[in-house]
Symmetry: C2
Subunit: 230 residues, 2 copies
């Protein structure tokens, strides 16, 4: 019953150091194991919510023993919080990578809106997790210290862009950056998250590409109209 089992565990090369060389096939890989648990948990929690998620299902999906979940994360709830933190962290990291240098305010806003839209589209699990956490009135997120440190770079950026736009005479004055960012998020988030019930009510598949594309255009136009000086 030797454990030659599957192919190699992909040797998650996470850095440069890597002094061990020869032993390519890692039988024990704490980072990989906990990463696998996290990935499986993310999927399960996003799909079923906190109460609906099954720890056994996460173990099966991660192809590890359930015991390992309690080894790395103390409880179902701590695992859930870890998943949340990771998902938010990924978003913030992606936001920081967008390059707005040298763009005029209006162009920058278009890029910002489209980044948000695309990120939401490509990361449906993040949206589900946020929604789940709001059902719990952010009870778990409140516990997290990491989250509070993870400010979005977009809010400050929006502040700067608004200022420049006003100085250039293209944007109206007195817009609140926080509220604006919420509006941008809202127009995409609501659509993507609620498209299931909306599709039933309207009798249209809002997840289909033509409808999705329409939404992107409406989002951009709505925000730009609001920004422009009347």
């Amino acid at each position: 019953m030797t454990r030659s089992s599957e192919a190699e565990p992909a040797t998650l090369s996470k850095g440069k150091g890597e002094g061990r060389s020869a032993k390519a096939l890692r039988l024990r890989d704490p980072k990989l194991t906990s990463a696998r648990i996290l990935a499986a948990a993310k999927s399960e929690f996003a799909r079923k919510g906190l109460a609906g998620a099954r720890v056994d299902a996460i173990a099966t999906r991660a192809k590890i023993n359930k015991r390992m979940i309690y080894h790395y994360f103390k409880s179902k709830e701590e695992l859930y919080l870890a998943v949340l933190e990771e998902a938010y962290g990924d978003l913030r990291r992606a936001e920081r990578l967008v390059d707005f240098a040298g763009r005029e305010p209006e162009d920058a806003f278009v890029a910002l809106i489209e980044f948000t839209w695309n990120y939401y589209r490509q990361n449906p699990e993040l949206l589900r997790l946020i929604v789940t956490e709001n059902i719990h009135q952010a009870r778990y997120l409140k516990r997290s210290k990491k989250i509070r440190e993870m400010h979005s770079p977009f809010v400050a950026l929006i502040g700067e862009l608004l200022e420049r736009g006003v100085r250039q005479g293209v944007f109206r004055d007195g817009i609140d950056p926080n509220q604006l960012y919420i509006s941008i998020a809202a127009l995409g988030f609501y659509y993507l998250n609620n498209r299931w019930t909306l599709s039933v009510i309207y009798g249209v598949d809002l997840g289909a590409e033509p409808e999705m594309e329409k939404r992107r255009v409406v989002m951009v136009e709505t925000i730009l109209s609001y920004l422009r000086r009347p």
Copy 2:
């Protein structure tokens, strides 16, 4: 008929030696009982989601025996669907009661936006239920025949208002009523539902009145800017 229902059943005290005498005291009241179950279930499902809700908790809250839940509704899931249908029905009924007669297009839109905002504020449970149902990708709503018949009167109204506004030269052309209604809903829905996590992230209580009022103003201004001819 002499359906004298409505009368107060209230007294559930059966230990009393009080003779039966007056027939006013109803011990059995199917309508009231199932209404109580529905109300309790609405609260429980909204708070905990479908998986998180406990049938026993619903029974306790409704002050009835759990057996009655299965008497009136066949299962937890059917009860959940009944709750959803009722919540949607209430919304549609309220929408139909708004009077837009004689208003100019722009005023009518303001009224429509504010109605939506106020209704969402006053019915947080509806939002939670919708969110829960979307986690399930509208699996239960799809089963419902009632829902498909419950078209919102607002979509047709928006179509008319847009047309009149365009004819009057105050609105821009080519706006999609469906997308517009989604935008209006989105700006309020997202804020109210996600204010828990957003408050943690921003470090501000977005549920406080000054912030809520700011939101209302932003909503109206955003939509009107989009409507107005550039």
